[in-house]
Symmetry: C2
Subunit: 150 residues, 2 copies
DNA sequence: CACTAATCGTTAGATCTCAAACAATTATTC
DNA sequence: GAATAATTGTTTGAGATCTAACGATTAGTG
């Protein structure tokens, strides 16, 4: 359990592995002209076509400002359009272009393949246990210091 | 195992949790004037005082260019000095200032407390299993597509 | 209806990160 | 010793992310 970088804390290991896996995923998607955030945005637009930007950002797990930048780039690249909702002009309605639809299919294929590779050799029980531990870590990280564990 | 963002893939969950934990850690360190990269750099300088920048970057897990930026900022903030090694003028020797030493102690205290909180309620066996799964995920992510699993 | 509060998305500035190209220095080869 | 190769750290440009402040629009209140 020791690695060349010295003693590992679980937080450090979690960070390192997720960065590593994330980088591999990004490279995988880059091969088909995508990226991690683009994938998540395309996927969310396909599953929640009427989501406004605030909802989209929440679903993707990023802040609104970040989403604005990604959407601006995707719109400039011709993947989607943004129009003001006629019933509430504060709200943007996003729509994939035919080019965006094509991009979704390409990136989805790559994401599915990556996910299959990522899961190889992992049993259902192992994954379930892993997710339980992840949930515990997330809860622990944000627990108030003065708060006793329930 | 379902969350409001729809079906979770293990890669997505790993990313989300590590980002969340990392953000909590960062906030924790920010309270004492540090940050995650600053902590890792200070820690590595304390454990490997004679490391050159290339070695330091590898130990911290970032690229040389990124380290250069961090070191420049830390030097500007008076936490450390960089001098050319007289025996090989390509190499920088880094040295913590008294202020840097103080910063290390403050940040270390915060990091240790965060780590303790993160580990609460997790058994040794659970952590061991978790680390096994992390290692598998990392290996899977970078496995060549054409490569059969050994 | 006028005013205030809330919502939505954007802008500006900052942090962290990477890859590629580069200059300076040292090591290796002939 | 001269030329080439390798090493070290830096610069440049770009991607992704966040916070705070902002302008435009809608909702709520009296």
């Amino acid at each position: 359990m020791h690695d060349p970088r010295g003693e590992q804390h679980i937080g450090r290991l979690l960070w390192d592995v997720s960065q590593s896996v994330g980088r591999a995923f990004d490279e995988h998607l880059r091969a088909v002209g995508g990226s991690r955030p683009i994938w998540l945005i395309l996927l969310t637009l396909k599953t929640k076509p009427s989501a406004n930007q605030r909802e989209l950002a929440a679903a993707v797990g990023i802040q609104g400002a970040t989403l604005t930048h990604h959407l601006a780039a995707m719109e400039a690249d011709g993947l989607l359009t943004r129009r003001r909702d006629p019933s509430n002009r504060r709200i943007h309605q996003m729509k994939l272009t035919p080019e965006g639809e094509q991009a979704f299919l390409r990136v989805k294929d790559a994401a599915v393949r990556f996910n299959a590779k990522l899961n190889e050799g992992l049993s259902e029980e192992q994954l379930e246990q892993f997710q339980v531990t992840l949930a515990q870590l997330r809860a622990n990280a944000w627990r108030d210091d003065a708060e006793p564990r329930a």
